[in-house]
């Protein structure tokens, strides 16, 4: 059995999306910036996609700017805003300890190169940022608040609407990295007072290599990619027409099945969580508690199994045909385990033993049963050969 449970890493481009993209490779290849009538088709296709993405967020099409990725959108929002704010004497950025590296490493860069002051807000044991903490961190130097919509590792959905309202009241721009959230949740940028929002097509069954930044009307951060006058002079580069068309299509399909998908995913998620808690002794659910399902991404499951290392579990699962993910250091370049799990207060050995399953359109009920059948045996076998497990049992 091939079980793909890593939909947060990426999703397959859906056949309908691919079909919509196909005419924009060899047939309608015209450069949208060209004057002749042949290029009109390319321009029209991009504007259609812009409308599709805008509609899904309750934004105006003129507020959507296509980028090469979600990471680029994050870079643009942070660098562009802080660079612009410098002129007004503002150099303070507020973000959290659990952001994706697209935000964290950009913040580090701004600190190093631009002398920006960065506040990294802590989170509680379930991964929630406190609105009160955001409020207390704001100074008259604050140029931007950037807080992710939902965490990619543990699935925690942040109080974005409250933070948005607070920032609007304080007249501070609010950016949210919604690369995961935009693929699972209903987002209304107006109602939530969001000023900037990053997203990515490949997390929602669209193609890789295309993202977007929503920029509320009136906001004008410095440009990030300099060159031609594409995207109304805000983002240079010949447009990735096929990719943009695919993004628009993927977004429209996602929106049309959002409620149904949410219901199916969260039912399977809760079954898998409850089953693993029941079948594996001393299993720890990371992120929001089981009872707070509406505060966790509908497709996210993240566990730590004391005594076992995450990469070990991934390889054992892979041998059984299951693709999952870990926050363990052993699957990364550094020796440090996931900064997200450490920020949640997990001990190193627990963070090393984390395992993430993320569900999606490829998931079936049979697959949930299969994981519930296979994983307890794997954990038990690896714990048998672990000195840490032995120590843990003795210490209890």
């Amino acid at each position: 059995m091939f079980v793909y449970m890593d939909h947060t890493a990426t999703t397959p481009t859906s056949p309908e999306v691919l079909k919509a993209m196909m005419p924009y490779f060899s047939e309608n290849f015209g450069n949208p910036s060209s004057v002749y009538s042949f290029s009109r088709k390319s321009r029209a296709a991009i504007e259609k996609a812009r409308g599709q993405v805008a509609a899904a967020l309750n934004a105006d099409p003129s507020e959507i700017f296509f980028t090469g990725s979600g990471t680029e959108a994050d870079n643009w929002a942070l660098k562009g805003t802080l660079e612009k704010a410098k002129i007004a004497g503002k150099n303070h950025l507020i973000t959290t300890q659990i952001e994706h590296h697209a935000i964290l490493h950009t913040a580090e860069y701004l600190k190093k190169v631009e002398g920006v002051e960065v506040t990294y807000l802590p989170v509680d044991a379930e991964g929630f940022v406190s609105v009160e903490d955001v409020k207390n961190a704001i100074t008259d130097k604050t140029a931007l608040v950037s807080i992710m919509f939902a965490n990619n590792e543990v699935g925690t959905i942040e109080p974005v609407a409250e933070i948005g309202a607070l920032c609007r009241e304080k007249k501070i721009p609010f950016h949210t990295d919604a690369v995961q959230a935009a693929a699972h949740l209903d987002i209304d940028v107006k109602a939530m007072n969001i000023d900037m929002l990053s997203m990515s097509a490949h997390k929602m069954y669209g193609p890789k290599g295309v993202g977007a930044l929503y920029l509320r009307k009136g906001l004008r951060p410095e440009n990030f990619v300099h060159g031609g006058a594409q995207e109304k002079g805000r983002r240079a580069s010949t447009e990735n027409i096929a990719g943009i068309v695919g993004f628009g299509e993927a977004m429209e399909i996602f929106k049309s099945r959002l409620e149904e998908d949410k219901k199916i995913n969260s039912a399977r998620r809760d079954k898998l969580i409850a089953g693993l808690l029941q079948k594996i002794p001393h299993a720890k659910l990371n992120g929001p508690e089981l009872s707070k399902g509406d505060k966790r991404l509908p497709n996210n499951i993240n566990f730590s199994f004391i005594g076992v290392e995450g990469e070990t579990l991934l390889l054992d699962l892979d041998a059984k045909g299951i693709s999952a993910s870990t926050g363990s250091a052993c699957s990364s370049e550094s020796l440090d385990p996931s900064h997200v799990l450490l920020a949640l207060g997990l001990k190193h050995e627990m963070a090393h033993g984390s395992l993430r399953f993320t569900l999606g359109r490829l998931t079936t009920d049979e697959q949930i049963d299969y994981v519930l059948e296979v994983l307890p045996e794997i954990v038990a076998r690896r714990r048998e050969m672990s000195p840490l497990w032995e120590e843990y049992l003795k210490s209890r």
Binding site: E309, A319, S332, E349, M385, P387
Partner: protein, 138 residues
């Protein structure tokens, strides 16, 4: 990050040799710590007349290369004298596994250190002088 392990690493990871404990072990050694994500514990049974390692077992918490390194290292010292076993280097363990990814070389170092600690434990218990341990930079 996708790691490309050799077939030997995968074999020793999926079917590790010499897993377990020796209740009346003559020497026990541990290396690593939970912070780094690797702990290795080695148990030795040594014949006091010949100083030959007659049995060896291990328990390891860590990634695939840590488990494979423990498994391979125990294979390599089983049946050898304690002097021979001391000379087993981490690179010999890695080589026997047809190589480890560069960021995983510390796993083989851990195996060498756990074995050295176990051998010194045996030497101490049997009135022999312990050998100074060489600490590798990770």
């Amino acid at each position: 990050m996708a790691l490309d392990y050799s077939q030997k690493v995968m074999d020793h990871f999926i079917n590790p040799r010499n897993v377990g404990e020796i209740p009346d072990a003559d020497g026990i050694g541990e290396a690593g710590n939970p912070k780094c994500g690797d702990i290795m514990k080695i148990y030795l049974k040594v014949n006091p007349d010949t100083n030959i390692i007659e049995d060896v077992k291990f328990k390891t918490f860590g990634c695939a290369s840590a488990i494979a390194s423990s498994s391979m290292a125990t294979e390599l010292i089983k049946g050898r004298t304690i002097e021979d076993a001391w000379n087993l280097t981490n690179s010999a363990v890695a080589e026997a596994l047809d190589g480890l990814p560069p960021i995983k070389m510390h796993c083989s170092v851990l195996a060498e250190e756990a074995i050295h600690t176990a051998l010194n434990d045996y030497r101490q218990k049997h009135g022999m002088k312990t050998i100074p341990m060489e600490h590798h930079e990770e």
